[in-house]
């Protein structure tokens, strides 16, 4: 079985970026200087991904203020709302407020993805918010039901996927923590499946992933099994390995073996053992190792150090890195 590794979410900003963005807020530097530093830093993330065998490359979405901001700022129908706690972390996002059914702005979202990921000769993966998580965390004043909105967002994201395919992206990953934090059932679950059907139709020839984190994926496995994407990722810091015996056949399994909530590096032997234990009870089509959630819960340096476990684990598991 193919075992590989990839980045699975936002990467932290470097100390240089921290200083530059603070300076920008205080009027001590220019937007152009900060944009140039972002571009260099995205290149550094791609270099790191290449060195560690993490593919496709993401570039780290360093510029994004939060997972939803690029959509809230570029699609019509949205304004950017109040600070809201990002699940059980000490970080916050600005809640998008949806005033009427949204429309995408062609090219706008792609323009906010790290250019370095697809211009340096590597395969690239775009990371986007999933329709269920976006619909669930925004404030919906549009008049549409949540179910209708999830489906609509799926169709809009499908159009984004078509555009990203045209730009040469090899993969698209959707961040869906809410799928495991607040497991949908009934009509809500049907709307999720419908949304991803629309995405799947657009994604032919492109690797698609749904990555879940911040909660146990076990209770969500029945609905995750119905989502037509190639790979489903789970946060192993939250998910009991035994639960994955019920992982659906025929799908790739993403294993979040790095816990971004602690700076303590993972022990490669423990990682290899837990992966082998899981693969003893289930037979996914492929395995992708990565961080269990967004690495921007860590500073840049510790995040890079924790990633070092991935190539070693992949090698010991006989994979491709």
């Amino acid at each position: 079985m193919q075992v590989d590794a990839a980045l699975t979410g936002a990467y932290p900003r470097s100390e240089a970026l921290v200083a530059a963005t603070r300076d920008l807020d205080r009027g001590r530097t220019t937007p152009e200087a900060v944009a140039a530093l972002f571009a260099r830093s995205e290149g550094e993330v791609v270099d790191l991904e290449r060195r560690l065998g993490l593919a496709p490359a993401t570039g780290g979405i360093l510029r994004w203020a939060d997972l939803f901001r690029p959509i809230a700022e570029t699609w019509s129908g949205f304004t950017v709302g109040p600070l809201t706690r990002w699940f059980e972390t000490n970080t916050f996002f600005r809640q998008p407020i949806l005033h009427h059914p949204p429309e995408r702005a062609p090219g706008a979202l792609a323009a906010r993805l790290p250019a370095a990921a697809r211009t340096t000769g590597t395969r690239a993966k775009a990371i986007l918010p999933g329709p269920y998580t976006l619909a669930g965390l925004l404030e919906n004043r549009s008049g549409e039901t949540n179910e209708a909105l999830v489906h609509r967002l799926g169709r809009l994201l499908a159009a984004e996927v078509t555009e990203l395919k045209g730009l040469g992206y090899a993969g698209v990953q959707f961040q869906e923590p809410l799928l495991v934090v607040d497991v949908p059932s009934g009509p809500r679950a049907e709307s999720v499946v419908a949304a991803y059907r629309a995405i799947a139709e657009a994604a032919t020839g492109t690797a698609t992933t749904v990555w879940t984190f911040f909660a146990d994926a076990g209770p969500a496995l029945p609905v995750l099994a119905r989502i037509p994407v190639g790979t489903i990722g789970v946060d192993l810091a939250e998910t009991e390995p035994e639960e994955l015996a019920r992982f659906p056949e025929g799908k790739g399994l993403g294993l979040g073996v790095i816990d971004p909530r602690t700076s303590l590096p993972e022990d490669p032997t423990a990682v290899v053992e837990i992966v082998r234990r899981i693969l003893g009870t289930t037979s996914p089509s492929s395995v992708t190792l990565g961080p269990g959630g967004p690495l921007d819960l860590l500073p840049w340096g510790p995040a890079a150090r924790k990633l070092e476990v991935l190539p070693e684990a992949v090698a010991r598991l006989g994979g491709s890195a």
Binding site: V18, N90, T91, E240, T262, S263, L264, V271, E273, L298
Partner: protein, 381 residues
Amino acid sequence: MTAKLFPAQEIGSIAKPRWQLLGQRGEALDAKARAEWTTWEDRLHFVPPGDATAAALLAGRPADVTPGGIRDLGALFGLRYFERAGLDRVYDGEARRIEMYEYPIRQMTGFQFLGHVRSFDSKYYLKAAATGPVGLERPYHVDEFAFVKAHARGIPKLPITGPYTLADWSYNEHYLGRHPGWRGRSVRRSAQREFVVDIARTAIRPTLKALIDAGCRVLQIDEPAAGTHPDEADLVAEGFNAATEGLDAEFSMHICFSEYASLFPAILEAKRCRQWAWEFANRDTPDRDGYEVLKLFREYGDTREIGLGVVDVHRDEIETARQVADRILRASKYLGDPRRIWVNPDCGLRTRSLEVAYRKLERVVEGAAIARRTLEGPSAS
């Protein structure tokens, strides 16, 4: 129980005056800072006669302003600001503090700062990891308290960051690292418990004891992280108990912007907590009764005092005294006992201008007076 109905207290920091910030940077006062100085000196009379720092600032001699002198003056300003607004319990507006995490951690041993983590947008905080057993370099806030005690006319109430928040805002390497193999949920929780209790016992408790030995009788333990992980409310309580074990003082616990219902009943195990000082006004809107959650105390039979947040610290709109009184009276009804209520802002007012914050504090006091008269009759003060 309170001696008079609805006494008022401060709850946290206020914005630092511009003259203090310029003075700390060794810069001369500009016109804006001078105007601010004049406005507040006229109102508060916070400058002691013959104060050398004030003289140097006003004479345009910033080189003669010492770091200690300007902070002392800032602390006096904070004290008089709260006292003049009519509060019964006061502090210095946290005039000497910049934030509530990094400073306490730097007084401890066993921590290493790893770098900045984004809180939101382009706001970051420096985050440390416990890389060894937690210890205490020296008790902290003691000198700060001594100054307040020497100058306060009201009753001093000292705020200090609690053990659960310090642990939650740090990485837990040392305690987690003692558990070999795969570290799943149960291992992480167990290690976090060890971390919280160790901070409480080895760093916070000795600091509280030193403060109490210095004469501090009222201490507010700030646990803003308490609501981050609803299933860890028992750790918040356990940390509180470990930090206060064997100590004799009035302890309160300040929590804000959390889903309080999720903390019940585990949080009630904080045995030496005499007062729950929580934010309520922020969640009190025309569509939602922000005080209804107080019914939970009655439901669980908890009869401790409530530090009732009656003004929103996130909005410039000034509450009316009538609105504040209405909130107090509603809370009294839900608790079934008005004598358990202290009134305060939801949280620290540092994000509001000094003018807005002061007017909000005045409304707290005026609203409490209206509520008192409503319950005790027109003769109540």
